[in-house]
Structure formats: structure tokens, C-alpha cells
Symmetry: C2
Subunit: 326 residues, 2 copies
Amino acid sequence: MKIREFTEAQLINFLHDEFAAASPEVTLGIGDDTAVIHQDDGYWLLTKDLLLENVHFRLAFHPPFLLGRKSLNVNISDIAAMGGRPAWALLGLGIPKKVNLAWLKEFLAGFKAAAREAGVELVGGDLSRSSHLFISVSLIGETKSPVFRAGAKPGEFIYVSGALGEAALGWQLLKKGHRLGETPELENCLQRFLDPTPQLSLAQELVTHDFVSAMIDLSDGLAEDIRHLCQASKCGAEIWSDKVPLSPCLKRWAARPMKLALHGGEDYQLLFTIKQARERSFLAWLNKSRYQLHRVGQIIKEKEVFLLRQGGRRQVLNPQGFRHFG
Amino acid sequence: MKIREFTEAQLINFLHDEFAAASPEVTLGIGDDTAVIHQDDGYWLLTKDLLLENVHFRLAFHPPFLLGRKSLNVNISDIAAMGGRPAWALLGLGIPKKVNLAWLKEFLAGFKAAAREAGVELVGGDLSRSSHLFISVSLIGETKSPVFRAGAKPGEFIYVSGALGEAALGWQLLKKGHRLGETPELENCLQRFLDPTPQLSLAQELVTHDFVSAMIDLSDGLAEDIRHLCQASKCGAEIWSDKVPLSPCLKRWAARPMKLALHGGEDYQLLFTIKQARERSFLAWLNKSRYQLHRVGQIIKEKEVFLLRQGGRRQVLNPQGFRHFG
């Protein structure tokens, strides 16, 4: 059997079975946004994300500064989704000959900008020659009280932190030849893919106020990530199609906006559920806050994820493949 | 300027300047075997090593079980060289289509074997499609008292933990078509490259007894690694050519055994200096121990590394290029 005949999820399950956590300190090993390791007075969060040339990015259209920033920011997004504070990073770079020093300096400047903004320090790494550019970032964070994917309960409302699908549209537009700085009305979508913003401060506020019961970052798309959250929480969900936030850019330029919003991936928004006992305080806080959050559905007992169409038609919402492991 | 026009050392210096440690907790950032971060009652050690297809290994002759084991063991070697205990690992894999599930299971079994032997737990990672196989392992360890490259003092003797150059010869032989299990007298050298053993228990004994002033693992070759140690310690060294340990296999099969022993790399033996006040206790301990250590030279004040030939001729010992960044 070749790798393409099984999915990333199957592989992760296989890894999970092979490496079931044995130590009492490991609160959570493989299978959430980060690993969680219990320490004396808190938790370490460990995560690693790969970015590969021609899989996750193309050198031809990813400005090096933005690629450096994205390399760290996608990891920061994982730490944020666990309610953590990112702290230490390791950077692994496989560098092909076509990359020159000016490019590399820009890449590192971008990495550094993201690090400075989030209070992260690059403490080590490894470099190698490579046929293609590849980037492997490991990030370690800390928290007093991690927020898991598991924890959502029937009746709780589901929120997302921003418009969905723009990053996926950006990736499509870039592959079609559109570039940053050419078409003002496309700029937003291209930016979302090239330079995603992790929702770190929002995540920390939500956790500080003890609003959330479960959280995940939207890297694989709403349809897949809500499924991850529901599987971990042993419940299901109804997503209300008319509440899924679509940006003007997406509605104007995407052939099928809702499809991208549900299945696009790489939005790096947060998906979370609000504790029912905290709902009222949450709404009061939200009213006064600078955040625009979107209530997109509700957790249900039945262990299935449904999309509720306008008019009331309910259909099972299945993930549509795996972008980087298809 | 293209990457090939500068060396890994220059790149690391550039990274070091760009990311100088700012936080008081970072005892040591980029530039030793691992990063060292001060915690309440000890230190975390963070390291990351990349293994890339056709750069560090070839699928055609690296049995997957041994490659899995090596992927973790080269990282364990870094933690060992800091006097640490390895604890948590993250595994990043870029998987090409030519790799099948049986291969991957063997790889993971090897990784797991190394993990079990060293008390390491795999807690997370990332998977992706890739054009070539690449492996990125991050490892986190702990120690109460880290041993740095800096710390060697003039007059101290320099030791290595085993014969040198065999791994480099193994790599040459493999590229020439020799394979494991074919020629008994080559077996040792091939094994050293395909399945290196990190010197974890030796390192822990040396540290427990407070014998060593400075330590590094031999990944780049004696000539280069003694230079790293001397630069960090602001001193120099004399290496005695007749004391550099050469295995029978190396002497029998290498065209220039001494060249491989000095410059070969990937031996993953330890290189360390013994505190003068602890020399006598060290020798008494060594006599009774199961280890065969080799005294190969002495630290000197002059900031240069020399090779002392038989007959007394002294020459500067320069590193000869960078295997994975040439």
C-alpha cells in the first residue's frame, strides 16, 4: 500500500496507537493542536509544523518575509488554540541552491517579526542542503490551564473568529497568476494565504475569562476541524450555513464561496465552544470588545456533524480530502 | 550570493547575530549542541536535527528500521553531550509517494526502539506529502547542570569515547555498492553509519562524577568539533595524531584512515575535556569502568588547533569543508 492510499488522519491514528503516551506527565500526546506535558505548576505545549515548497507554498509567489512570518505564525496558532503563551522556537531549514542570501535574510526578518510580536525566542535549529526548500518549525509554549479539543458539551454554541475561505481562495488565485500589489480587491484574499494572523490575543482573552470549553485552530477547514473537535468531545454539531462568515472578496471572486469557507483550510481562525454557564458574561464581554466573532452553530448529542441549510434542510457535513496529504 | 558560497558556520553565525538571546531564562541559544533554558530547578535542553534523503541518507541502502533509530539517536547524542536526559520528541516527516506503509512501519519501529531505550516519548509532530523523504526530529531534554562547549581550560586533557572515521568510511562504502550482511569485515563500518549509538550512559556518568569541563558530540568530525569546543572555550588544542583511535576496519579499508578519523563526521562519539582537579579520580573510575576512552590531546592557551605528528612536527588542523553544506 502506498502512502497516497491512506489519509493523514489514518497515519496519525497509526502513530497514535504506536506511540500511546506512557508517562504520567503527558496529559496529551499526539492528536490535539499541541502536545501537553504537565510540569510542577503548569503545562508545556509542544508543536511542530512543516512547510514544504510546492506543497504548502511556492517560491515563485511567496515573498520571503511573509513566508518567514507564516512559518512561525502557523505554529503560534496551534499554541494559541491550546490557550497557551508561545515561548521558544527551533527552526529547521533545508535550503536549495536556488535560494540566495538576500532571500534568506528576508525570510529570517519575517520570522523575527512574528517572533517579536508574540514574545517568542528562536533558540536553535538545524540547516542542511536540500533539493527543495523545506521549513520545519518547533514551538514550545506554556499555560496554566490548557484548552483541549475535548470539552465541548451538547447545547453549547460554536463560534469562529473571522471570515473563512479567503486563504484557500488566495492560494487558488496565486496559482492562477495573481500577485500581491496588482489588484486591490484581491489583496485581502492573497494576504490571508501568504500572511495569516494567528489569533493569539483573542485566545488568551477567552481563556483568561474562562469562556471556552473546547478550542481548535482552523487549519484544515471548518468541516474537518469541527469534526476533530466533536470526535475529541464525543459529541456532534450543527453548522448553520447562513451564519458561516463569508468575506466580500470571497463572495465576489470564488466560484463556490461556501465550499471554500467549509473546506478551504489555512484560515488560522479559532473555532471554539462557549460554556453555557458563561454565555451571558461572554456576550457582555464581546459587546464591549474589539473582536468580531461569529456564532456558526451548536453542539449536539448525536455524534455527527450536520450542515443546516437555509430552509431547514439538514445534511451530513463531510470533510473533502486533505490538502497536503491527498 | 548563493548559499553554496557560504558555509553552515557562517550561516549559523548570521542566525546567531540575528537572534541573539534576549530573555534572562535563555542560558544559551544558538551555537551549542542544544539550546539551554533555565527553569525553576533545572534546565531544559532543546535540539533539532534534520535528515534529508540524498543528503544524509539514501533510501536505496538505509534499512528503514535503522533510519528511524538513527533519526532519534542523533538528537539523543546532542542531549547527551550537554549532560542531559532526553525526554520528549516531535517528529516531522515529509513522505514521498515511493515510500510504502510497510517501510513507514519499520521506520517507526526503529524510532520507537531508540525512544524506549533512552526513555524518550514521542508526543507530537507533523506529516506532509513531499518530493523527497525528509525527517525533522526535535528533542527536549532536562538536566540539573548542563555541560557546555565552553569550559575547557589550558592544560586539560582531551578525550574521545571511541574509534573515529568508521561512519564516514561506511558512507563511502555504501555509496560504492557495499551492503549490510554481505562482507563480515565491513559490517562494523557500515553499521556505524547506518545505526550510530549515542553515548548517553557514558555522558551521564561523566557528568554525575563531575569529571568534565566541556563536552561536544562528534557529528562534524574531530577537526571541526574540537575547533567548536576551543572557540567556545576561548583556547586552543593540540591533537596527538598517534593517539587518535583508528579501528582495524578503518585501517584495513580506508585509503587514508587518518583523514577520515579527523574529518569524517557522523561518529556520534563524545569529545570532552577533564577538569584537572578531577583527573586522578577520573582515571581511577575509568580503570574500573567498562568504557574504553582515548586521550587524544591537550588544551592549550594559544587560540589555534594543531595536529602533532609523530616525530614532533606540528601543523594547524583545519576543518575540511562541511559535509551537508558543501
